[in-house]
Symmetry: C2
């Protein structure tokens, strides 16, 4: 259901095609930094909010109205498919995904049955239907990459060391590949359904891939991510592949089948471009931490990102990671304005 | 008070000199992974344990007796000097350094008066005196690098984003450089006194430097670290410079004045060696997370580290970060044995 949209600078940049204005959106643009979000969300579980299409639609739209960004991103979570098939996890405010019974052995594989998006996540698809009817910019659908989703299921909670995950991948490669293959199938089914309902681009979040060496990434994480990205290729929508601290992995993340690779603030865009194949677009890479500084500092940093890109058409301005809860929305408004004013 | 010690493979490796056996020690080798540590430490504050020379000596010695490592590292903390001059911080178990009143403005500078090691940290020096009398291997002294210590003082608690720290460095560079200059002076005074009492090498911990881009590291963190390392040069003891996720910074961390640069598991040693000037030794780089795997997996990973080094004399085997609390001591015993057996 991809529509031609010659007016979208975001889609043009994803495809490395010439366009007038540098597109910009922000990871976690919908969320706790917005007072209107805090107002409608209340204290309930994020899973409940995602399962309420009217609420999820409203939350997705809030930053669009406020910021004038060039893409919307579905309000959902990378663990939503695993939650929907009953793996038994919750997203705890201030902590993140927490799993009641972590994935530990082959006995847990049956807990990861295939996803039937129309039956298991009808609310996601209804939210997308609502959004496509309302939006005049592209909607980005997304999924978690198998490595990062596996890290939540195996650790049971957010981790700094990925201790159990790394032990499983190296001590039980059979189990690891069975797990990540099922997670790849979940991601494919979810992304395919999102595109069928009108998402015009997708982002695969491998947020924690940067905890791996390049050799381990290539062996243990890349195959299942490549399976996802290759399966979505036939849809024709641009595929964005994102992680944090992935300077050493940018080439592999492109090779996995990405049209756009996310870059965090540790690597200048000009340097990142030397690490990916020609024709790969880049997304990034303002440090979200710097948004707490006075505007003149933020402006200088925004300009440095744009300068480092040097007018290359394959650039989508974004942060290097998600908007933090304490970010003032006014800062993001001004960032959008500054990016849109920029002419290389 | 540096003594010639022709029999130390550790000191030889620090100096890139030929020696027979690959030296090995582990960051946090003294600590929660050892039952004998948990027994003597009890539930009190780490600050109290550090201030008790008999206890700190015993804790430093425990891994020496058990593992047969080639260097001891003083049981202390990177915030000990700031604590000793009354900055007002505690090290909370399971959390890390927590500061009552974080450093926020120039009014806080007076809280960082110069350190007089003999008066302010006599217990540290007494511990070193004890250790030097007891040890037949070199003792490593250490300090926190100004950037990393500043991140604790400015954030008030361990952070994942270093939000306030990064804002201060870019929005208030005058204040930032005044702060890190004082922290450099603290580190210099502390390290100098440790060497005077017999530490035969020092390690500068810039654990969180990897959160910065190379350009920001060079501008905001490297100058104060270089001041520390240059001041210690005259002592003649090897200087180890360590951080996590610093693949992009290895050359700069060497240029700051290091004889040895720490490398985490994300970059193979062979690759790391291309990023530092010739003559720089390397320390690392087994992933501590993998120590939870069965021995045959750990052994394979140990061998991969040694193979990547390829018999270069300038290599000290270590982990890429500290020993985690759940690590079985038996695993580390076997790692030492394996490293010592290795012949390139």
């Amino acid at each position: 259901m991809v529509t031609a949209r010659p007016d979208s600078c975001f889609l043009a940049a994803c495809r490395n095609e010439p366009h007038d204005v540098t597109p910009v959106w922000f990871m976690r643009q919908a969320g706790r930094s917005l007072p209107e979000y805090r107002e409608v969300r209340g204290e309930g579980s994020i899973n409940d909010a995602i399962a309420n299409p009217d609420l999820a639609t409203e939350i997705t739209m809030q930053p669009i109205r406020r910021y004038g960004v060039d893409a919307a991103i579905l309000y959902s979570d990378i663990v939503t498919p695993a939650h929907a098939i009953g793996f038994g996890l919750d997203v705890v405010p201030g902590i993140g995904p927490v799993v009641e019974e972590p994935f530990r052995s082959s006995d847990d594989l049956h807990r990861l049955r295939p996803l039937d998006p129309e039956a298991d996540t009808p609310y996601v698809l209804e939210t997308i239907d609502n959004l496509v009817a309302e939006l005049d910019i592209p909607l980005i659908g997304f999924a978690g990459a198998p490595f990062t989703v596996a890290s939540y299921l195996v650790e049971g909670a957010p981790s700094r060391t990925y201790h159990n995950t790394k032990v499983m991948m190296k001590a039980r490669p059979d189990l690891w590949f069975a797990l990540t293959d099922r997670l790849a199938d979940l991601a494919i089914a979810s992304l395919q359904s999102q595109v069928d309902h009108g998402a015009e681009a997708i982002q695969l979040f491998d947020s924690w891939a940067g905890s791996l060496s390049a050799a381990d990434y290539e062996k243990y994480a890349m195959p299942s991510s490549a399976k996802v990205l290759e399966a979505i290729e036939a849809t024709g929508v641009p595929r964005i592949h994102f992680g944090v601290g992935t300077g050493e992995l940018l080439g592999l993340m492109a090779d996995a089948g990405a049209d756009v690779v996310g870059v965090d603030w540790r690597i200048p865009l000009a340097e990142a471009r030397t690490r990916v194949p020609e024709g790969t677009a880049l997304q990034g890479n303002l440090d979200p931490a710097i948004l707490g500084a006075p505007w003149e500092v933020v402006e200088r940093e925004v300009d440095a990102v744009l300068d480092s890109n040097g007018g290359h058409p394959g650039h989508i301005f974004n942060l290097g990671h998600g908007v933090t809860p304490t970010t003032e929305p006014e800062k993001l408004e001004k960032v959008v304005e500054r990016v849109h004013q920029f002419r290389a």
